[in-house]
Every structure is written in C-alpha cells, then in structure tokens.
Symmetry: C2
Subunit: 153 residues, 2 copies
C-alpha cells in the first residue's frame, strides 16, 4: 500500500502505525477527508482514527477544514513534515536527556562516596568514566537544537 512509506517513517520516531497510515492517506489524497472515509479506506476502527487524528492535530501535522453543507470535520495533511520530527526531538529526546542530568548527578555522588570509602583505584576510574558521560550528555543536548534548526530550513 502507498501509505507504507509513512508508516515506516513515523515508526522511526516511536509513533504508532495508525498515525502513519492516517497521515499518509491524507498526504496522498487530493482533497480533505472526513473521519469515516479514513476509517473505511484504511480499515481501522473509529477509536483509532479519532485518537490518531487528535494526536496529529496536536502536532500540527494535520488541520481540519469546514466544507459547505457538510457537518463533518474534514482533515488535510499539513505538508510541514518537520513538525513530526521536531515533536520527536523536543518531546521524546529532550525530556529524557534532562531527566538524565539528575540521575547522572546521583550516580556521581554514589561513586564519590565509594571512592572515599574504598579508596580503590577502581573507584577512582569509575568516577572518571562518569565525568566522561556527563560531557557526552552535554554534547547530546547541544546537538538537538542544531538538528531541529537545520530541519526547519
């Protein structure tokens, strides 16, 4: 099917398959579609469609339009693919890296105590390793805004 491309794309970013299917269908469709078309064309449930569209709207990846003489919401793909990617970086990666900071600090503390108590050379080596990790952590955090900026133009 022609939405396969989108399915595999969103999955790289940890989003469920149905999101890819819906976005793909809308991307490829010449005019905006109501929810029941999405349900019937993709063969997914009303629930999935509703939830999927809600997420895609929240990402700004689809928008809804009003069509004259039709009460139903009609959905359209926003061509701005970068929103999905940006969402991944900012909502999935960024928070984890930040949470990681605190935990690294805790590890550091543990290692320092261990070193003081055991005075082993091994413990000192561990301390050095953790410091190296912290550098990496910082490096990663710097990379993200760079990538996001690059994707945005």
């Amino acid at each position: 099917m022609s939405v396969d491309f989108f399915v595999s794309f969103v999955q790289v970013f940890g989003l469920p398959k149905s999101i890819g299917q819906i976005y793909g269908l809308l991307f490829v469709s010449a005019e905006p579609l109501p929810m029941d078309d999405i349900v019937s064309q993709l063969g997914i449930s009303k629930g999935s469609a509703s939830q999927g569209l809600a997420l895609l709207k929240s990402l700004g990846a689809v928008t809804s339009q009003t069509i004259p003489a039709d009460r139903r919401e009609h959905f359209e793909a926003d061509l701005n693919v970068s929103r999905i990617v940006t969402h991944f970086f900012e909502n999935r990666l960024q928070p984890r890296l930040e949470h990681g900071d605190r935990r690294l600090e805790e590890m550091m503390e543990l290692a320092r105590t261990a070193k003081r108590e055991k005075k082993g050379d091994g413990a000192a080596a561990v301390l050095t390793r953790i410091q190296a990790l912290q550098k990496w952590q910082k490096r990663g955090r710097n990379l993200i805004p760079m990538v996001v900026r690059w994707l945005k133009r």
Copy 2:
C-alpha cells in the same frame, strides 16, 4: 537504581531495557564482571544476560577479557558511548530511509498515473507534494552522516 540512567538512554534508541541495565552495571563497575555476577546483581535471567551481552558485543559497546585462573568470560564496558548511537543511526534509521526511496518512487508513479487519468488539479497537487517529500528524504539522508561525524568527535 543507578542503572536507570542507562536504561532510559538506550530506550530512546529503541533498545530493550535489559541492554541498558547490563551496560550500566558494567559501566559503573570497577572491574570486569563474569556473566553470573550480572545475572545475580541485576536479577535477570541467564538467557537475557547472554543475549544482551551478545548484542552489546556486536555493537562494540562491551568487550570481554580473560582473567587468570578463571575460565569465565569477563565483560567490561567500552566507554565509547557513540557506538550505541552510531549503531542506531546506521542500522535503524539509514536502512529505513533507503527503503523509503523505493516506496516514494512507487507513490510517485501512482500519482503520475492518477494525474494522467483524472486530469484533476487535485492530482497535480498531490504530485507536487510527493516531490516535496523527496526533497525532505534527501535532506534527512544527508543529515545522518553529519550527526554521526559530529558525535565521533
């Protein structure tokens, strides 16, 4: 626990929890550990440990050492964290992007036929969208080697 940091880290890259636990334990341990220590300290099964270590070795993220008068393999974390990240980019992202090329081409073909048949302006618009996608695809493929290079120093 102090390996939490690593668990959450590897999960960003779609690797199982046990991988993070094992790598974390080795990272934090002052000297190389045999498999049964890993099993008992983390409370995971022999199977998990064996499989996890095999994967980590294949990534080059851990190495094994021989310790005199001990038959068992002893494992040590390779500090080179970038291997895990590089592995993610090269084995998980890259192939998908490449496979995507072919599927995009198929979509393009479908869209061209649709345009010829229906001659609708909608169909032409779809064609344009897909072309835009192809640009993005190329852009993404260029980004990866950049990131990898940046991470490697």
